[in-house]
């Protein structure tokens, strides 16, 4: 299986996402924002970072990149797409996901290991989790506070489209929302970073050992398993 990772001007975590894909057992494919070519990949990751220096709004200018035309078509056609942090912001700006992300309520950049509860285990990126499984992966952003209208929130809640909730709300996100999916379950946006918790020795601390957390790997192994089943 080949999973594309799009690099935008100001992307930071594209290499880490490629590495996570490799460790999960798929082939990462580097894609470039300025092209109109997905190189035949089976799934896509929009990585974290500060594309275009967060000018205008975080993710807004990147969402207008040439490659986003193909990303939007592929997502609407059912291709699995995961947006992490800045990638999540791009997916909301591209209207592939509902809601928006604003500055953290305390006005600070937050960088810490974050506990989450995985609530939707049917999306393309979360089938490997058990319902309400608690995981810990790094969180690092300045504009991670999830906002949506009351009507949109009610619909996301009613349709079971909350992927993950914070255990201890770090940033003022409505309903403690850390990640959401679209109605079809192929497009997922997540503010915390699964790609930074994929290899023992380099992840969050656990009760067993320092830096041994690999909870993020399951997002990537889920999409690989999912695609093998449907292939």
């Amino acid at each position: 299986m080949r999973i594309g990772v799009v690099t935008f001007p100001g992307s930071l975590d594209d290499r880490d996402a490629q590495r996570a894909i490799r460790l999960a057992g798929a082939e990462p494919v580097a894609l470039w924002h300025g092209e109109h070519d997905l190189h035949g990949v089976d799934a896509l990751v929009l990585p974290g970072g500060f594309s275009y220096g967060d000018y205008l709004r975080a993710g807004a200018i990147a969402s207008l990149s040439p490659i986003m035309a193909e990303v939007i078509d592929a997502a609407n056609g059912g291709m699995p797409v995961l947006g992490i942090c800045n990638g999540f912001q791009m997916l909301t700006e591209a209207h592939l996901l509902e809601g928006g992300l604003i500055r953290n309520e305390q006005g600070r950049f937050i960088c810490r290991d974050q506990s989450l509860r995985i609530e939707n285990v049917t999306s393309d990126w979360t089938t490997g989790f058990t319902s309400n499984q608690e995981i810990t992966i790094p969180l690092k952003n300045g504009e991670g506070s999830f906002m949506a209208s009351a009507e949109t929130l009610a619909r996301l809640e009613g349709e079971g489209r909350i992927i993950a909730r914070y255990l201890g709300n770090p940033n003022g996100s409505q309903n403690d929302i850390a990640g959401v999916t679209n109605a079809r379950g192929n497009v997922v946006g997540l503010m915390p970073h699964p790609e930074h918790a994929v290899e023992a020795g380099f992840g969050p601390d656990t009760a067993e050992a320092m830096s041994s957390g690999v909870d993020g790997l399951t997002f990537f192994t889920s999409v690989i398993a999912r695609t093998l089943v449907t292939a």
Binding site: I102, T152, G172
Partner: protein
């Protein structure tokens, strides 16, 4: 040439952490009569030719689709600034 100004503000019902930080700084300067600050954006768009109805309609469309995100922001004003004063 003409300049069309677009003003965008964070939605009134959402927290504006940037405005809150500015308001606290004003308080530290002893300016206690100002109880709140909200921070928005002003775009100045230069048009080749007159700011006619077509240009204003195009800007209004872009204000909604690109310059603002209706989930978190409102477009609060679009107006024309007269050229000689506006263009350096």
């Amino acid at each position: 040439m003409s300049v069309i100004v677009v003003e965008v503000m964070p939605k009134a019902e959402l927290l504006d952490p940037q405005g809150k930080a500015v308001a606290r700084a004003l308080g530290r300067l002893g300016q206690t009569q100002f109880s709140a600050v909200r921070v928005g954006k002003r775009f100045e768009i230069t048009v080749d030719g007159p700011a006619d109805a077509a240009a204003l309609a195009a800007v209004a469309e872009l204000a909604d689709s690109v310059l603002s995100n209706s989930v978190i922001e409102d477009v609060v004003g679009i107006h024309v600034v007269e050229t000689a004063a506006a263009v350096n």
